[in-house]
Symmetry: C2
Subunit: 154 residues, 2 copies
DNA sequence: CGCAATTTGTTGAGCTTTCAATTAGATAGG
DNA sequence: CCTATCTAATTGAAAGCTCAACAAATTGCG
């Protein structure tokens, strides 16, 4: 007894799917082209840059960026090779690792940020009315509220 | 002279980012687990199932699924291995290839669809009011209208 | 205390995606 | 007709992601 999507729902779902995919791939491509990093890596640098000491536990960083631990491990390994992040032992928990934004990482972020923000403006904010932006925020937060609770940590 | 995002914009952008990512990874995981295919492949089967003859040119299929030609080539190769799609020569253009949904492909799609639709309902439609769904459709279509025109075909 | 259960983070394999290069066929202008 | 240009689709390599398995440290509880 599946309740299928009616034509209206179908249209909504497909528009959302296509729009979010198009937006993401566009921003990802721009960032890769202009700054040599995918959007996921940019986000890691951003989160680190915002906290005191530019340092976060791996698990907190995974949480903040909405990525799995595994993905984050691989990503930080890559960022470490680039010299943008370094790892340190966690003083309070010997299992823990701290990811620390380096000088070079901050520089790379500073270089990438203006272009990226411009892209976000151009492709998102400039296309919607202030009212729509409020609606989008409320919609997104409702979805998040539902999805966040049980996110796998693998 | 970068115009940075103000706190409100920041909140909107991050909520949207987190929500669309969480929704996608959730649906992708569900589909992979229950039906053994990623969401992108499911979409290919859906598009093929909807057209007369269950057949589309590779380029049309790429367009319909919003994927690059390269990605589609790889994906169809994979789907062919699974026996869910087969390729045929295009009669009117010798460069062309037709992707055709097989019986087995239709069966796999039919098996996957109910669970997937339920997921979409649960994680998207059930979380938003009718008004919000209309808003989301309009927002998505506005974004699409802007992004669609120049999508790379590489 | 002592041991089971949980948490943290990593690893490697396999799969998907991207990018740039390439082949082959169609098309338009002179 | 013939050549330059464009379009269709594929390819391989490099990169990123997912999943399951794992090691090490911590926690909770009898």
């Amino acid at each position: 007894m599946t309740r299928w999507l009616d034509p209206d729902e179908q249209r909504t779902w497909r528009a959302f799917l296509a729009a979010s995919r198009a937006l993401m791939t566009t921003l990802d491509r721009e960032l890769q082209h202009d700054a040599g990093m995918p959007h996921a890596y940019y986000e890691i640098l951003v989160r680190l840059s915002e906290v005191p000491g530019q340092t976060l536990r791996m698990s907190e960083l995974a949480e903040a960026t909405g990525s799995s631990r595994s993905r984050l491990s691989h990503a930080v390994a890559r960022l470490e090779e680039s010299g943008w992040v370094r790892r340190e032992e966690c003083p309070t928990d010997r299992r823990g690792q701290l990811a620390v934004l380096t000088e070079a990482g901050l520089a790379a972020l500073s270089a990438a940020a203006p272009g990226h923000v411009q892209g976000v403006r151009q492709h998102l904010f400039d296309q919607l009315s202030p009212v729509q932006l409020t609606q989008l925020r409320e919609i997104s937060e409702a979805l998040l509220h539902h999805l966040e609770p049980d996110r796998p940590t693998s």
